[in-house]
Symmetry: C2
Subunit: 197 residues, 2 copies
Amino acid sequence: MYAETFNNLIEELKKMPGIGPKSAQRLAFYVLQSSGRDIDRLIEALKAAKERLKHCSVCYNITDVNPCKICADPGRSSEQLCVVGEPKDLIAIERSREYNGKYHVLGGLISPLDGVGPDNLRIRELMRRLRDGKFSEIILAISPTTEGEATSFYLSRLIKPFKLKLTRLAYGLPIGADMDYADEATLSKAFQGRRDI
Amino acid sequence: MYAETFNNLIEELKKMPGIGPKSAQRLAFYVLQSSGRDIDRLIEALKAAKERLKHCSVCYNITDVNPCKICADPGRSSEQLCVVGEPKDLIAIERSREYNGKYHVLGGLISPLDGVGPDNLRIRELMRRLRDGKFSEIILAISPTTEGEATSFYLSRLIKPFKLKLTRLAYGLPIGADMDYADEATLSKAFQGRRDI
């Protein structure tokens, strides 16, 4: 079959998520064909990520400085706290340029099937921030999936006693999408949330 | 946005074939979450592949010894030569355990649209092997795609003067597939190539 060195590379690549045997083989051929400098850069990036990246001790976003740039930014409001599941949700929100407050990254969503309960998320840390901070609004920016709804419900019960303004993102038709492609659940949420124009 | 180290890792991962922004992000999170040892092993595998793997000087398969194990194997017939496009085609054939001769890897197929002509393939090297070797049969094991057919046609014209037995793989229904899913071209090849039972 393949040379052992090549098989070994395929095996290591196959351990990554979403990389099956065929993709691993294609990536391995890419490694062979690309210049030594490209691979050196990839190796450097992997090493640097593993050595330098950690979670911000305040919001738990991924960062190479602590606290992270968002937490340390004096230009951002300390009155609003946006709670998200994963760092990638935070990135999606930052990309929209709609929000200028602080974040709290839970590190996942409640999912009993995957063995993820409230104790596995950074909910205790969130409660500590609510007690110590001077937030006036908490925004739950959590995907409207089964896991997300369970997490929002759980969080809202914990946050209500703080007597802060507690909001969630609007549900409705995604911009740019054809209405006849929208599923029933989205359409019924869009009806329920209809606004005067 | 993301920490620079993280962005940089995503950028390097995105250079790989079939890895878009979403996959690159997912892989980067995997790198963060996996143990340092896993990443070290991946880095080692990348380095080893880049340093040790080369093309066999006889058949142009990928190898870490030269000549490769197949070329050096005295248990394999030196009378048959199987011509394939890429190393992965060779592997597919080896997996079938049907063939016990030698190989020649062209390093691609003729594809004018991609700027790949006969001179970019190891056809001159194949001709040299045919002149110097003692082959009795040449098997073209080349995908029946447009590029593959062009390559087979080109090669057959070059090989015919050697007055060797020249064959190609059979075309027909793939084993295990439902007949009503077969496309017209495959079905008509299957009819043309029907056999007595």
